[in-house]
């Protein structure tokens, strides 16, 4: 089951440049929340702060309170153990090219010291089914490299890899921006089904995508969270002028 996320007074920096200013947001469990905004508005940084990937960039730092379920992300929990419970899918599909499809999905389990062969088989199958990739790869998954798949399949493989460790939250950082419309459709369909089991936060450039998959949408601008509300409200009657300008295409 997914868990909710509570963010209070989150600030983030790249060196001396502040990328996020005092973000407060409460993300509902087992729903999909979209984060939209123009390029450079801090939406990716925000998502990367949730699993502490932000701080892996040299000179980047973050401060504030982030609670994911019972975990206090910036206080008393190690970054490694947080990332084990939060899956992440990146903009560019990044399967491990030297591993087979099967090993790609099992890689998270292996890293966590999971050695049970039979259970691993089950989990890999289940994860590939979650990611709607099972039918396409079940015969070749031991032989074929993860890099031998098409772009859309690679991205679904990355989703399967993230889901294999049974995370509570799935973060998606523009997961469809490198994909064609058909693959995008498949991934969106997937998000719909995955909501039942995971809390999903998706960063997207594509406002139609946000309106299709997300119940809640947050609009970021210049490192600030301008508005956060139900998706219909954001796209029909936003309460902030800047949100309206953005979604009607007046800038960005």
């Amino acid at each position: 089951m997914g868990v909710g996320i509570k963010v209070e007074h989150l600030n983030a920096w790249f060196g001396k440049t502040q990328a996020l200013h005092d973000i407060n947001i409460a993300i509902a469990s087992n729903h999909c929340t979209a984060v939209i905004g123009p390029s450079g508005c801090g939406k990716s940084t925000f998502v990367r702060c949730l699993n502490r990937m932000h701080e892996t960039i040299p000179d980047a730092k973050a401060a504030g309170k982030v609670e994911i379920g019972e975990m206090d992300v910036y206080n008393g929990t190690s970054a490694v153990s947080i990332r084990r419970r939060i899956g992440m899918v990146f903009q560019k599909p990044n399967p491990f090219p030297t591993m087979s499809i099967y090993d790609n999905v099992a890689s998270g389990l292996k890293l966590n010291g999971f050695r049970d062969r039979k259970r691993t088989d089950e989990i890999v199958e289940r994860s590939l089914k979650y990611a709607a990739l099972w039918e396409e790869v079940k015969d070749t998954m031991h032989k074929k490299s993860g890099a031998g798949l098409s772009g859309g399949q690679q991205q679904r493989l990355c989703i399967a890899r993230a889901l294999a460790v049974e995370p509570q939250v799935l973060l998606m950082d523009e997961p469809c921006s490198a994909l064609d419309p058909i693959s995008t459709g498949k991934i969106e369909e997937l998000i719909f089904q995955l909501k039942e089991k995971f809390t999903i936060v998706i960063v997207t450039h594509n406002m139609q995508q946000a309106s299709r998959v997300a119940e809640f949408t947050g609009f970021f601008l210049l490192g600030k969270l301008i508005e956060f509300d139900k998706t219909e409200k954001i796209f029909t009657t936003p309460s902030d002028k800047r949100t309206e300008d953005y979604i009607t295409g007046r800038f960005g």
């Binding site: 990937m53 084990r84 990044n94 491990f96 090219p97 030297t98 890293l111 890099a147």
Partner: protein, 344 residues
């Protein structure tokens, strides 16, 4: 085309615009700015010159091979394949077997790799993944510098620093605790196979480490992030996300290092002891193919003696060529656009 662009305004627009355009077009037709065809001989000279440059490399290699084969003919006829499996090297009785040299070359090189590869990979991992930024440049530069030191300097350093150290401290300790393996027996001279292996290792480290560093840097950042996001520690990230993706390139670097170790002459000659014997102990003196040629060429009086030395050279040449071809294949398989790069 120009008329098209002007299509809309030109209905109401002024006539002169169209006229000027027409004039420009006709003038362009009557006197082209750039001549087509014409003088081609500079290009021909250029291509012939470049062809000559390219062929000269092939010619040099061919000449070396011809020279080695013809000059070693005498020895080849006298000993045949026995030359490579016999171990007595006796210039007085004109009996030559190159096995101790082949053995010495291979053992000293393999020993060098065993010592150098972990160190070199460690250096590369530290520089690319963990080093504070201010230290990165100086450290990388110093590693490269190691490759630029002439080998005779390494030899001198080995004689005055490394050999006494081995004799006084390292070898007694090895003999005491690891003597039972049989690899560390006999009197600790300092000079010998172990010293040669260590000095070769120091010379090989910069080659392996700079190659490793390059392929590690080429691994896309997304691969590192993918592993980190799965909840990997830094070491796991380096192992799964970086080293695993770079392994073919690292292998290429190791083989280039092996090529260097096989052919190295000066530093090895100065410390290996130069005795054509095959001994199990690494403390014992040995001899390599390159060293025997350098040491004995000037005093080789008989024709068969000279021919035997050339045959040793031929053997060394072949081994080095094989190693280099292997390295080229490996490096090529990395740069050809492995999935790792396609992803980047």
């Amino acid at each position: 085309m120009a008329n098209h662009a002007l299509g809309a305004p030109h209905v109401s627009g002024p006539q002169p615009t169209e006229k000027t355009l027409v004039v420009v077009e006709t003038s362009a037709q009557s006197a082209p700015l750039v001549q087509v065809g014409g003088n081609e001989w500079p290009d021909r000279v250029f291509s012939w010159t470049m062809l000559l440059c390219g062929l000269s490399v092939l010619a040099i290699v061919a000449l070396i091979i011809v020279e080695l084969v013809t000059k070693s003919n005498l020895s080849w006829h006298a000993f045949g394949w026995r030359f490579f499996v016999q171990s007595d090297w006796d210039p007085v009785n004109d009996q030559y077997g190159a096995l101790p040299f082949v053995y010495g070359t291979i053992v000293s090189s393999v020993l060098a790799l065993v010592l150098a590869v972990p160190l070199a990979i460690g250096v590369a991992v530290f520089i690319t993944e963990m080093c504070p930024r201010w230290l990165k440049g100086p450290l990388a530069f110093t590693t490269e510098l190691l490759a630029a030191i002439p080998s005779v300097i390494y030899g001198l350093w080995a004689i005055f620093v490394l050999v006494p150290l081995l004799r006084e401290y390292v070898q007694p300790w090895l003999a005491k605790y690891w003597g039972w393996t049989g690899l560390f027996e006999g009197p600790p001279y300092g000079i010998g196979m172990l010293a040669a292996g260590i000095i070769l290792a120091i010379m090989v480290v910069p080659i392996v480490s700079s190659m490793t560093r390059e392929v590690m840097t080429a691994v896309p950042q997304q691969q590192r992030e993918a592993v980190l996001a799965l909840g990997a520690t830094r070491w796991e990230m380096i192992r799964v996300g970086v080293l695993r993706n770079a392994r073919a390139g690292i292998l290429g670097g190791i083989i280039l290092g092996l090529g260097r170790a096989l052919g190295e002459t000066m530093a090895v000659t100065m410390v290996i002891g130069n005795r054509p014997e095959i001994a199990k102990s690494l403390f014992a003196p040995g001899y390599t193919m390159a060293s025997v040629i350098a040491n004995e060429f000037s005093e080789a009086t008989g024709d068969v003696y000279l021919s035997a030395l050339v045959e040793v050279g031929l053997a060394l040449f072949l081994v080095t060529i094989i190693v280099n071809i292997l390295a080229q294949f490996l490096v090529w398989s990395v740069t050809r656009g492995t999935p790792a790069r396609a992803n980047g």
